[in-house]
């Protein structure tokens, strides 16, 4: 205890939360027998290698690791196969373990008729944060996937309206729930304030709304709004989350230009 620095907690504010100490990238939990969950047994028979691991956590929660490229097929089968009938997609979220490890997309399913729960996980390497959207199957995925996109930067292919949801549309500091994201944000307070003061009326509306009202997004990127609401490039300041590759700290143009604002 003696070597514990009292300012340790404050340093975290600038650096992002500590990364997970669990070693490795493999599946977590105890390996389970596929026969212990009827859905998993059927899934293994149908999808073969796309079902990568099957583990049990917290006593009775079954987790299946699936190949990310088959997620739409597997979710569709879970929903439509009468023997499975997972009518509810309860939750879509993601987990970042930090340290350059892949992100996990987590799907929590519930079958109303069979009273069964199942958790699916798809791991995505940081270099390819893209996965098929579940919105064509489940409308509940719409906002949940937008949230994952906003906070983790995972893109969902085929999502009808992939915009930020918690953060403003022109937020340019990256994706807040990633482990390399510092609690105070990437820009200095001064820069954050300056950006907030510079917001204009058009920034509060998405291109679809502006088009309805007969207005256009301002700035040099205005021409991009013809591409529809799924391209945030229509806003006055471009929002390019891909600038924030993991581990490239100090790449922020705003943070670098006004470091005096950091308390």
């Amino acid at each position: 205890m003696a070597d514990k620095d009292l300012n340790e907690g404050l340093r975290d504010l600038e650096s992002g939360p500590r990364t997970s100490e669990t070693a490795g990238e493999g599946p977590r939990g105890e390996a389970a027998d596929a026969a212990s969950h009827p859905t998993v047994a059927a899934m293994r028979a149908k999808f073969g290698d796309a079902v990568r691991h099957h583990t049990v956590v917290a006593g009775d929660e079954h987790v299946v690791y699936i190949a990310p490229e088959r997620v739409r097929d597997i979710l569709g089968w879970l929903k439509d196969d009468p023997a499975q009938d997972y009518a509810f997609l309860m939750d879509v979220t993601a987990v970042d373990y930090g340290g350059g490890r892949p992100l996990e997309v987590v799907y929590q399913m519930w079958s109303l008729t069979h009273k069964r729960q199942l958790r699916l996980k798809a791991t995505l390497p940081l270099s390819a944060l893209e996965i098929d959207s579940a919105v064509p199957l489940y409308n509940s995925a719409n906002w949940l996937e937008r949230e994952v996109y906003d906070l983790f930067g995972i893109r969902f292919r085929g999502h009808p309206d992939l915009r930020r949801i918690m953060m403003p549309e022109n937020y340019a500091e990256g994706h807040p729930l990633r482990k390399d994201f510092p609690l105070r944000g990437r820009f200095s307070r001064a820069e954050q304030t300056r950006r907030a003061m510079e917001m204009e009326l058009e920034d509060y509306y998405i291109p679809t709304e502006l088009a309805t009202a007969g207005m256009r997004a301002t700035g040099e990127h205005a021409s991009a709004d013809a591409a529809g609401p799924s391209t945030p490039g229509g806003m006055r300041r471009p929002n390019d989350p891909d600038n924030w590759a993991l581990g490239t700290e100090g790449g922020a143009e705003g943070g670098a230009s006004s470091p005096e604002g950091v308390e």
Binding site: M1, K4, G9, D12, P17, R18, S20, E21, T22, R28, G29, V57, A58, G59, E61, A87, F88, L89, M90, D91, T93, V95, D96, Y97, G98, V106, Q108, L112, K115, Q117, R119, Y138, N139, S140, N142, W143, L144, E147, L151, R164, I165, M166, M167, P168, P176, L177, F181, L183, Y205, I206, T208, E209, T212, A213
Partner: protein, 430 residues
């Protein structure tokens, strides 16, 4: 240039130059009059209207952008995030027990349900079985807050639709639950009452008697509210067949709680995946059939009565014994022991300085909150802080179905439908 008029004993000065439409006598000189028989041609022209984020009928800081054709809603685009506090990120910087205060700030209308759900998820991940007394106490607290939350819902919804009296009736009863919160935790809203492995404190003396008194006297108010609303012509007109969502759509949109059950789907976590011996309590789950505002209202009213039944049974079976588990990994030793026993003092010091350490694992655990299925997903890597703490908020998923329910309806119904969904923005925005 100014003029004066006398109103009673006060002299009011008008600056005529700054209000050019006002004559020297202080009255408007011209009133815009719409020419008779000449209506502007508006067909096909859609109007964009912005409601919120600062609007009393959005129950917080929800912002809706509506595209209107006349008074009909063509498209509804909700914008959220105005109350975003990044609770989940903050949780990654906090010990397992320090997260409890964050949970009640999400749904401040039913804080104890969130406290309990979080503690239950972490306990499940750690494999801790809480004591029998703790189980029953938590059931009592959760059912009490279900009533607490539904009372706020009925009060504010009635106000949105124009019935003010109900609000006063409901808040008078809510005040009594506030008092019970305060007696138990010292706080009225931000209760922070659970700890991993138990509770912050056991029930104080006389608390159960106060709750029994509430259970016995509350149904009278409930009857009064029903007398005011259930057969009220205006209430029926504003609610029946408004905001209809079919069972199939409700499931597909992930609706849970009373919003789902009003559409005729009898899914209740307390019945379908019982926790804390809910399967041994006698209670019914009210289910609607039309999926409209009115059925959502009826479901919640009946749920309050059912919660009273559960409360009564829980109080009757409330066992004695310790409230906290006997597990040194999570529970602090008694104060006397800390002062007199070296080992307890070290143990106390380590728990306070390092926090509870949860073993490697994860759990997605859900309870039936007043608004629907509340899922808590916790991931631990063996440290004293979570790798990930995720809240599947029922309001967040429920409100995402709002466009589906209001498109094609009238503008005035948007307010009624939004109210009937029973959302809380603290949890939607997190």
């Amino acid at each position: 240039m100014s003029s004066t008029t006398t109103r009673g004993t006060r002299t009011v000065e008008y600056l005529v130059t700054r209000t050019p439409q006002m004559g020297v006598d202080g009255r408007p000189t011209s009133v815009p009059v719409m020419p008779l028989g000449v209506e502007p041609e508006m067909h096909g022209e859609h109007m964009l209207i912005n409601i919120g984020p600062q609007h009393p009928a959005t129950h917080g800081v929800l912002r809706l952008v509506l595209e209107l054709d006349g008074e009909t809603v063509v498209r509804c685009i909700p914008h959220i995030g105005y109350l975003h506090s990044s609770f989940e990120k903050l949780g990654e910087y906090r010990d397992w027990n320090q997260i409890v205060p964050l949970t009640d700030r999400m749904d401040y209308l039913a804080p104890l349900i969130y406290n309990c759900a979080y503690a239950m998820a972490v306990e499940k991940m750690m494999g801790i079985e809480v004591t029998e007394r703790c189980k029953v106490v938590r059931v009592i607290l959760m059912e009490m807050d279900r009533i607490f939350s539904h009372l706020l819902w009925i009060g504010t919804t009635a106000i949105d639709i124009g019935a003010f009296t109900v609000f006063l009736y409901a808040f008078q009863e809510r005040e009594r639950i506030y008092d019970l919160h305060e007696a138990l935790t010292g706080a009225r809203i931000t209760t922070s009452s659970t700890r991993i492995g138990g509770m912050m404190a056991d029930l104080p003396d006389g608390w159960t008697d106060a709750l029994r008194h509430f259970i016995n006297t509350f149904p009278k108010t409930l009857d009064e509210i029903e007398t005011l609303l259930t057969h009220n012509n205006l209430w029926i007109g504003r609610n029946q067949n408004i905001g209809v969502i079919s069972a199939e759509d409700a499931i597909n949109y992930g609706l849970t709680g009373p919003n789902l059950r009003a559409s005729g789907v009898a899914y209740d976590v307390r019945k379908d995946r019982p926790y804390y011996d809910y399967d041994t309590y006698e209670f019914d789950v009210p289910v609607g059939e039309h999926g409209d505002n009115y059925d959502r209202y009826l479901c919640r009213m009946e749920e309050m009565r059912q919660s009273l039944r559960i409360l009564q049974q829980a109080l009757d079976r409330l066992p004695g014994g310790p409230i906290n588990v006997d597990d040194p990994r999570v529970i602090l030793p008694g104060k006397t022991d800390v002062m007199s026993d070296m080992e307890s003092m070290i143990h106390h010091f380590k728990l306070v300085m390092e926090g509870v350490k949860a073993p490697v694992g994860e759990s997605w655990f859900s309870v039936e909150s007043s608004k629907g299925e509340l899922g808590m997903y916790v991931v631990s890597d063996g440290g004293s802080k979570p790798v990930r703490w995720r809240v599947r908020g029922p309001s967040f998923v429920n409100i995402s179905a709002l466009p589906k329910m209001v498109e094609g309806q009238l503008l005035a119904d948007v307010i009624a439908v939004n109210a009937s969904l029973d959302i809380v923005l603290g949890e939607i925005d997190r």
